[in-house]
Symmetry: C2
Subunit: 758 residues, 2 copies
């Protein structure tokens, strides 16, 4: 079954369409294809598995077992509970292969980009490696152990647990494994184990390059890139190298050649580099770096290709932030949250990205692509890859580079008190070093963050926590020109709220009076589409939703704070509308609140520009189908209506109206404030804006506003408009803001109408 092949030279890729992401691996030398893996398990560490079953690599032990034993879909009802026993087993992955045909200057390597989580590797029954941590890649030279017939085994320990009880995320507070899989308010308890990223054996020359890093610093006016070409290699003999930088059109703009040393560090200068921009500010321009290790006959031993984008990112002070606080005794000004990219202040509109699958082993390039295409289509320019989930695979970052999506990258810490002890610090340092070295190469990387909500009471970590001081130190050492923050939220940055109405306050009021530099998480729930519900909830439980049913397993009840019914929130819906009489009506009500709430959040945050510089909703996607969740997409990628509302609220240019409250009464004075929002570099003149109220077919023109000038990247505050609400026979009415010159700038809001007095 072993088949060796020489990888095709990717000559044409240099001229590819920059938008179409063509995923490539950094290192593709001579590779062994399709190792056939088997999996066994046992309850005790030293016990041999009873049997071996076919295994898919990358994947997870749970999915292999479920496939083999015909488990029902874990997404349905409470089937995920059937997987509970698998947390505590010992697993053995096994593969066999015959002696490959190695030349005298070749060696055979075993490479795995990720094994989850604590494991040992045996080759021909000899322990050759042991590791804790899923982010440090494994690279093992097998050559000296090779026999005619070979057996490679990866033995994986049970899921790590700091304490036996309670069974929750705290069990993962001493490891780099994503705590989310120990159970979250939108994630079942399902703890993946297994080989989760690309894994193969490959034949390498005795001399090979193991890292190429094109580090650079842009001059203050961005006209020159001072490049440091850094490469490291294992060299049996002296070898020449050649490095070429080609632009997106395929022209070589810079090159270097010489003799390779084990650590190469060459200074080069690129004049007038084309800059990388997020998709809504320019072209995410990428160059191609090709590094060739050459043998003494002039033939290429190895080529390493990377895409390179040139950009300078800083977190700078938000406008007005230096003026606060004003009074004595006074504390410090807030830390900066404003992204400045290539000298331009970018209003960051985006979303919190969570693991796209419960089992990271099955995330494909296509799965990332599907979701990231929606990110772009929603007018988002940034994703925060939330610290409770996995660190994404290589293709995630390659796609963000290509699509022009900025990335706020967190380390794998979330909502826990990670300890100051040396064992954890050593583990985290090793993993973080691997993470930083892998991701720092990507122009889409805007921000390193120590993890999620670590400075809040439920986590209990502080600025003094050694894990965070160490991560700051490591980022300084390895990638000091990319901003670092210890956690989210920081001082001045807000998170929450997470429901439409909280302690008597609606999302409108909360957002309108809020004064923050950034919103790192904010959102509100919507029930999943009916098709999703039918996939996960037995038909006889579908309506009305009840606690103790599949609704609760899928986070509709008792998921989060007990003061509201999370995430179904029927208690909140009943404040506004008659109790739903069908599942369809319930979904409509919930999705209406989610849509209007999200619209208000994004627009309010945008109106707070320039003091406010960022808004990210909680959250974008989900790793399994929930019954109700703050996500904009139901698993796998099904848009809720709120997605379109958010897409519209994030248009670079659009009209906007302040919503003061959701319910309005007959004869009440309806009031709103008009705005014209502009995050683009476009300039507009003389826009005529009309404001109407529409109830059923009746449309009432309320006012007009003439906007003489819309300046680039600046909002325009317009007039306050009032109008006594007429007598209508409707449950809802619409506020419609129309821009006569360009209907694509129009805005529309649905509100609740009530007969009679307030």
């Amino acid at each position: 079954m072993l088949r060796f092949f020489l990888e095709e030279q990717m000559v044409n890729e240099m001229k590819q369409n920059m938008i179409s992401a063509q995923i490539k691996r950094e290192r593709k030398a001579v590779q062994v294809e399709s190792l056939k893996w088997e999996l066994g398990y046992s309850a005790e560490q030293n016990q041999q598995p009873d049997k071996f079953i076919p295994a898919v690599v990358p994947g997870s032990v749970q999915l292999d077992i479920a496939r083999d034993a015909n488990y029902p879909d874990y997404n349905y009802a409470d089937n995920y509970r059937l997987f509970r026993w698998m947390e505590d087993m010992y697993y053995t992955y096994r593969t066999k292969f015959d002696l490959p045909n190695l030349k005298s200057n070749e060696k055979l390597w075993f490479v795995s980009k990720g094994i989850d989580y604590q494991f040992e590797i045996y080759f021909n029954n000899k322990l050759i490696h042991a590791q804790e941590g899923m982010y440090v890649a494994v690279e093992l030279d097998l050559t000296s152990y090779l026999k005619q017939s070979n057996v490679l085994e990866v033995k994986i320990m049970p899921a790590p647990k700091r304490f036996a009880f309670p069974e929750d995320k705290k069990q993962a507070s001493h490891v780099t494994k994503p705590p989310v899989s120990y159970g979250w308010d939108w994630h079942p308890r399902l703890i993946p184990l297994g080989i989760w990223d690309d894994t193969f054996i490959e034949i390498r020359n005795t001399s090979f390059v193991n890292d190429v890093y094109v580090d650079y610093e842009l001059s203050d006016d961005f006209s020159v890139a001072d490049i440091k070409l850094k490469a490291s290699a294992v060299l049996e003999n002296e070898h020449p190298y050649r490095w070429e930088l080609k632009d997106a059109e395929g022209y070589c703009v810079l090159s270097s050649e010489g003799m390779m040393e084990s650590l190469l560090d060459v200074a080069l200068t690129l004049k007038s580099p084309k800059l990388w921009w997020p998709h809504d500010h320019g072209v995410p321009y990428l160059y191609i770096s090709s590094f060739y290790l050459i043998d003494n006959n002039g033939e290429v031993i190895q080529s390493v290709k990377n895409k390179i984008g040139f950009r300078k990112v800083q977190l700078v002070m938000n406008e007005g932030a230096w003026d606060e606080p004003a009074e004595f005794p006074k504390t410090r000004s807030v830390p900066p949250a404003q992204i400045e990219l290539n000298g331009r202040k970018i209003f960051a509109k985006g979303t919190n990205w969570v693991n796209p699958e419960v089992f990271p082993g099955i995330i494909t390039d296509e799965r990332y692509r599907e979701l990231l295409d929606i990110v772009v289509a929603t007018n988002f320019n940034i994703v925060r890859t939330w610290g409770g989930s996995i660190i994404n695979k290589a293709s995630f970052f390659e796609l963000c580079d290509t699509l022009g999506i900025m990335v706020w990258q967190e380390f794998p810490l979330s909502c826990n008190h990670y300890p100051d002890d040396s064992a954890y610090l050593t583990l985290l340092e090793n993993e973080a070093r691997a993470i930083i070295k892998r991701i720092r190469k990507h122009p889409s990387l805007m921000l390193w963050c120590g993890g999620n909500e670590l400075f809040n009471s439920w986590s209990g970590m502080t600025d003094q926590s050694l894990a965070l001081r160490m991560l700051n130190a490591l980022c300084y050492e390895l990638d000091r020109d990319t901003p670092f923050i210890s956690t989210s939220p920081l001082f001045g940055i807000a998170h929450g709220n997470y429901v439409f109405r909280w302690k008597g306050q609606e999302v409108f009021e909360m957002m309108n009076k809020s004064h923050h530099t950034a919103y790192a998480e904010t959102g509100l729930p919507g029930i999943s589409p009916l098709e999703t519900l039918k996939r996960i909830i037995p038909a006889n439980q579908l309506f009305p939703p009840q606690e103790g049913t599949a609704w609760e397993d899928h986070h509709a009840f008792n998921a989060w704070d007990a003061s509201v019914e999370t995430w179904l929130c029927q208690d909140i819906l009943k404040e506004y509308m008659d109790p739903a009489k069908s599942i369809e009506e319930l979904i409509f009500q919930s999705q209406l609140l989610q849509s209007e709430g999200y619209k208000a959040i994004y627009e309010a945050a945008r109106r707070q520009k320039p003091y406010c510089s960022m808004v990210l909703n909680w959250c974008f996607n989900e790793p399994w189908p929930t019954a109700a969740n703050n996500s904009l997409l139901a698993y796998p990628s099904v848009p809720k209506p709120a997605l379109a509302a958010v897409r519209d609220a994030c248009r670079p240019l659009c009209a906007s109206a302040v919503i003061y409250k959701f319910v309005w009464h007959e004869n009440e004075l309806f009031t709103t404030d008009l705005w014209f929002l502009n995050d683009s570099l476009q300039v507009l003149a003389d826009q005529r804006i009309t404001v109407s109220l529409q109830a059923g077919n009746e449309k009432l023109l309320v006012s007009e506003w003439k906007v003489s000038e819309v300046k680039p990247n600046m909002n325009v505050a317009g007039p306050t408009i009032s109008c006594k609400l007429p007598s209508w026979n409707v449950q809802f009415f619409k506020l419609i803001v129309e821009v006569q010159e360009d209907a694509t700038f129009n805005a529309e809001y649905t509100l609740i109408y009530r007969k009679g007095k307030n």
Copy 2:
């Protein structure tokens, strides 16, 4: 003139009185005594000085020139301006000595603990060293350059200036030199240059130890110290070593011996270590570490002695801080500011320490001792060594260790925007490494801080500034168990106010309504005592004080914010009292406000315990005699009346009354709230407290309060007391709170009385 002497063995010091500080140097081997130095200067770098004059080392070039040329006292009037030209000269220190008698296993070293600021060292006309930075010690092996007659020269560059204009602290925003000497609101522009710390040549064995560091970690219950004995050495041959740890009584409690390697790292365990405490919480217990490098005949080549104190310090969350903020959208909780020492939360009462002299070269051990004795006598347990000044010399820290004074240690950055550029970062890293390695050994060290007011608008640095990220990384690398903060104030920590009345609010109101975890700087000015004024102000200018005179040179006018007359504040005095008719009356008025204001500040902060955990006034001392300043001492160590007020307000146990305002009127309802403050571990029962108002000889008993229990380290809030103010013929009255059981707990406040209506 060369005389070699073998230093006395300090056998008896092990039994010394722990309170009496006996200063010792770490390394005293065979030493060359009293090098005779000369100084010359020139306007151009390559120009030879016209002449050489006698120089005092350590000292400063300015003082040598002033001494030689009979300059008038720089403290008087505006004489400091005469020194202005010296900033821009090139200086040459020169010393000559004959070939010493070196054995085959000996070498001659030049050692300087500090040369200010940028310099080159020439030996026998050969450039052997060049350096920028005053904190990296110079250690140079002269042996290979030795001749029969030798000339050693230290050539010092002009004071560094980032820009030529304006002539202010910003000129020092790219260096580690104290910015204060470029001019501050209480410091003249006088920029020291020269050799500022101990400097000598010494004969060393070819093998010698250059650092001994007794690192340790205390167990959670403080019953065991896991010691890492770390030593580094330059070794010509293999040598045995012996290390002994003796307790304060002279008993050896731990020892180690073996063969010395160039890097020694030995793990040892000390059971039941006696802990180090600040003077008001226990005994600042010190052990003595003696490290001996031994030759093959068993004789000691070198001994290195250190005092070691065992303590564990953490910054932990202030009580109640996790509960804030409460509302959504919410930002993070404040960072911790509560010192926890050996498991005990310590309320930190102290002061901001500035450079005790304009010229650091003349600071002696005795000068430090004089000031630090006053710190202890004022019931202070902490000093913040402010980042605008120098990093103190060794004896400062040795005294703090011995006297039981906690130290908040800042790096040399203050009120400037220090750049992200590599030249500055490299310089700062080198200096900071030297600073950390020197100071981390001291048990009095509680906190590293990046510098002063860097996150405020006038500095413009942020959490992203590379200098501060680098300092965090360095402290993590070299001393990770000591807390680190980036700057002061941090979020939750306050600074200011700095005058009695600010924008209509009195210090009383500001402090009573303030809600902060710590006060890092707060204070108000007092005029210096008359004797001090007479030393600095010409007799004909003494009264009334006027702008443009020596009063202004000494910071009485136009020193700080223009909205008040800083620091004389006659505008504020006139709000309360008739304009003073004599200098004596003016001093009385100013010192009255300073005393009552300081009393209110310290007591208010203490009443805010446990949320508040620290109060430090701005400032303790001053480096030259000011006319008016927030300091408690006039230069050199003359107490203002406010010192006694602060001493009383900081008594571990005392009564306290809330002062709501300074001026009270006839027939007005006088109101106060009573408290009993306790920062000690003492317990009191059944204290009877009486409250009286006294006007002239008339004393009116207002109320009584019986305190049934005062618990350790906890305050007791008492009743609110009101009383209609009678008709008096006085300008002032006193609120007197008397504790019948112990008059040392009494409190007393002076307030202003006015006839007629409010």
